[in-house]
Symmetry: C2
Subunit: 341 residues, 2 copies
């Protein structure tokens, strides 16, 4: 392996390559544009430019509402069918190819070979580890997972983790790069199948499938149990902090000591870990760290204010879209009547 | 068992009893008051009136912002230490005693014996089945689970299900009563441990505990993976509809056919059910029912608008409370400096 130059300075990066321009890759392209970058896209399908243009058109009002970077230009992109051409002069590469291991392996090897030697390459994979995906790369040292969430231009979370052969400096660079762009980065030290958010989502999803399978709940009931229940708490305070608050002034310690035995209840098909002293103390210490200086009363007030604000926000969206849908239905009915008449 | 009179008409109910006035019971009291009802509380602890007054004071601004019913009076409540006295003349009873089976059994038997014969009795239990809890009641026919979520004055969801000896009419009455009060009711046909939302939450919570236990994620990373990720989608569209949209125009059918094999991946410790044709078809049909007449494009626009609105709502709450906390910290520092000086 040739000696590589140092990674380029973050503030010199003004162009990104998006390899693959489907829903996720196209979302990344729109996001990079909104942050004032230029984007070079590799996508071999003939309708890629047209689809990408539609996606950017659809995303731009949302991105504008959240705030564009100075100089953001929605048309500062080009599509290339030659990979080396797409990677020319870029300061970062985001790979968002279909979720097929062999495809990812081949493509990441080609990208690593063709990209400038001082750039980092992020993969949008939602489930493969970089150690698996990097298998064909001659030099995998700059290959990093940067896992976004759909829609990738609106959801802040990006999970960042390297593979066995990734340079730690490349992982740190990727985390800093995404953060600089306004993303909320979780940098993981170890590769875990499904990363963090997908493991949590997947546990919930599998329990939901079991319930449908056993006739215990309908799809609509499952969704409403979240949208009108815990889902209203989670945009401000995650499941751990929610549990901490449910413990009242006694917090997480009270909850674990009081409700610990319910971990043995068949409230889900997932077996709980044994609530050892070590686990108990780790969860309490983690909650205390997260809470920091905030008092119980401050947390409760913020939670309540957030639930109200979120309920109002969602109600206004429901009203706008339900009345729009009703209006569209009336127009279709009207047109049908006119045709009949 | 004596023949019971028919259940009283919903629109004649203007007084509710709250048995137990802790966080959940007190929250119910505040909510009933905000809907224009009078509330009679049974709680034997000497500081119950003072604590309830504090809880109502804290909840009232939020309830006012969400809209009070005409005639709502925050002081229309009384606390009683005698159960029969508390139940005098009420049109509904909500039991929110501590989550201890023997306590619930004894109390529900006493309530069923002392309450007016034509009223329904709802229990806030978060995990016991009514069949278990009703064991000591001479007449359990009006005993129904009405499971709320903390804070019970702000979260709309109530899960309603009867026990083996509950009259179906009492379950229907309870569902209609909560709905009339503005709650989002899920009426379950069968008793399932943990009901619906808690089963889903519990699966996620147990996966989170496993991750902490194995050093795979910190408490803060787990919370942020939800607050900055999927948690932003869930207040408008639940996990099933989210998955449907992730399938693009092909919807849930595309997702199940394409990502079905990932159910075998170790993305959580919870084993998935086998994706049989029957389960596949049930999930697709349920998603189609939930979507109704809405087009894919309408769903995507509503989702994006909701994510933006929720992000803005949460950001404004964060800013308000973080600056308040910072201000409080400055004041404390200032006071400390003055003392030192």
């Amino acid at each position: 392996m040739a000696v590589r130059p140092p990674l380029r300075p973050l503030d010199s990066v003004d162009t990104a390559a998006c390899v693959g321009a489907g829903t996720i890759g196209g979302g990344w392209a729109a996001y990079f544009l909104s942050r004032g970058m230029r984007v070079r896209v590799w996508d071999p399908s003939p309708d890629a430019p047209e689809k990408l243009e539609r996606l950017i058109d659809a995303a731009w009002p949302a991105l504008t509402e959240l705030g564009l970077a100075p100089g953001a230009d929605r048309s500062a992109w080009s599509v290339h069918t030659d990979l080396a051409e797409a990677l020319e002069g870029v300061g970062f590469v985001q790979e968002s190819a279909p979720e097929v291991l062999e495809v990812k392996q081949r493509l990441l090897a080609d990208i690593a070979a063709a990209a400038p030697a001082d750039v980092v390459i992020g993969s949008s994979t939602s489930g493969y580890s970089m150690t698996e995906m990097a298998g064909l790369a001659a030099d995998p040292s700059h290959l990093v997972v940067g896992h976004p969430f759909n829609p990738s231009y609106l959801i802040p979370l990006v999970e960042v983790v390297g593979g066995a052969a990734t340079e730690p400096a490349a992982v740190a660079w990727a985390a800093a790069f995404y953060e600089r762009l306004g993303k909320s980065v979780i940098r993981m030290d170890a590769e875990v199948p499904g990363f963090i958010a997908n493991r949590l989502q997947e546990a919930l999803w599998r329990e939901a499938l079991h319930m449908v399978d056993n006739g215990e709940a309908t799809v609509e009931q499952i969704d409403r149990s979240i949208t009108d229940g815990p889902g209203l708490r989670w945009p401000l305070q995650g499941p751990m902090l929610t549990f901490h608050l449910a413990g009242g002034e006694g917090g997480m310690a009270h909850m674990l000591d009081h409700f610990g035995p319910s971990l043995l209840s068949p409230w889900t098909r997932l077996e709980a870990p044994e609530l050892t002293d070590r686990l108990r103390d780790a969860v309490i210490a983690g909650s205390d760290d997260e809470v920091g200086e905030r008092t119980f009363e401050q947390l409760v007030h913020a939670r309540d204010a957030s639930i109200i604000a979120v309920r109002k926000a969602v109600a206004s969206v429901r009203e706008a879209y339900e009345s729009a849908a009703a209006q569209a239905a009336r127009e279709i009915d009207g047109a049908a009547e006119r045709e009949e008449g």
